[in-house]
């Protein structure tokens, strides 16, 4: 193992549920307002996972008052307090960027049956 991997592995791995593209998640984000920090929830569809080990991140999209909003969350960010999986969606690709062009009914994702 090289030195850089060793440095990256020294970071504590945050606890995360299993999720992937198409799943709906609630991300609890720490937000600092002046002195106070509070937690805000960002709920949306996971567009894709960027697997880069310690430098990995995932992208969540939601439509807020008719405007599409996407946020990228690094897995190791201390600002990501918790991730909850709301539902698992059935999609056929790893990155579902096509969702950006779809509105309303067309933007639905079928739910995956889990045992």
């Amino acid at each position: 193992m090289n030195t850089i991997e060793l440095f990256e592995r020294a970071h504590e791995k945050p606890e995360m549920p299993q999720f992937g593209a198409g799943d709906t998640v609630r991300v609890h984000v720490k937000i600092k307002e002046g002195e106070k920090t509070r937690v805000q929830v960002f709920e949306g569809v996971v567009l894709g996972i960027r697997n880069r080990g310690h430098r990995g991140s995932f992208r969540v999209r939601k439509v807020s008052y008719g405007v599409g909003v996407e946020r990228i969350f690094p897995f190791y960010s201390p600002n990501v307090e918790k991730v909850e999986v709301v539902s698992h969606g059935r999609v056929r690709r790893a990155k579902i960027y096509y969702l950006r062009k779809r509105r309303g009914k067309a933007a639905r994702i079928r739910e995956k049956r889990m045992q």
């Binding site: 850089i4 970071h11 310690h54």
Partner: protein, 216 residues
């Protein structure tokens, strides 16, 4: 004067307390050895020390290089890189003394010098950020530099006119980078931001020449 030569291992990232993500360059700098303290006599530059880095078998060096390390106390060793550093207190250094990463601490501002990644002979678009011409509609001005000057007056091209040529593979310095962390056990220095050169490239880390005004 704090200075050391190391090998750029690559880049990674970490998060600050505030949650801000910072990019880090990891440099491995094994201890160097003071080879010579300049006397200042006979054309010798005074107030400087010569330091060898990257220990190697002296037989792997050519004779003139190996000869520089003949007078070192202790075991027979050679060094691949020999650098001279200006120091205010040359008298404090002794031949054979080790130069380690421990002279640096988190928060120090440093200048880092390396050899930038070579891009070969590059055109004006890549080298000087010129604009490109249209690629279609019969354009014959795809990646040309355009006009390079006037006509009969002055009948020449101005000096310093930006043109195509060798890009990269030359010495580059980045000033005022902050040290994030020093690991004396593994001889590592973590620097916030990028550093010139490829992975495994040789970089020189020095105390910055532009400290904050309050410190100067």
């Amino acid at each position: 004067m704090k200075a050391i030569v190391g090998k750029k291992l690559g880049m990674t990232q970490t998060f600050e307390e505030s949650g801000r993500c910072v990019g880090l360059t990891v440099v491995e700098a094994t201890p160097g050895v003071v080879v010579r303290v300049n006397s200042g006599e006979g054309g010798d530059s005074a107030g400087a020390i010569q330091v060898g880095f990257f220990e190697t078998d002296p037989l792997k060096l050519n004779r003139p290089d190996a000869g520089q390390f003949k007078n070192l106390p202790g075991k027979k060793a050679g060094y691949k890189v020999l650098r001279e550093f200006r120091v205010a207190d040359a008298g404090q250094y002794k031949v054979g003394q080790e130069i380690t990463v421990e002279q640096f601490a988190a928060g120090d501002l440093v200048d880092v010098q390396g050899r930038s990644i070579g891009k070969g002979w590059a055109g004006t678009i890549k080298r000087h950020n010129f604009a490109r011409g249209p690629m279609t509609h019969g354009s014959k001005n795809k990646r040309e530099p355009g006009s390079i000057g006037m006509s009969a007056t002055p009948s020449r091209v101005h000096k310093g006119k930006r043109m195509a040529g060798q890009m990269g593979n030359k010495t580059a310095t980045v000033q005022r980078l902050a040290v994030y962390k020093v690991d004396p056990e593994k001889n590592l220095i973590f620097i916030i931001g990028g550093v010139p050169g490829s992975r495994n490239g040789v970089v020189t880390i020095k105390e910055t020449v532009k400290p904050r005004r309050a410190e100067a």
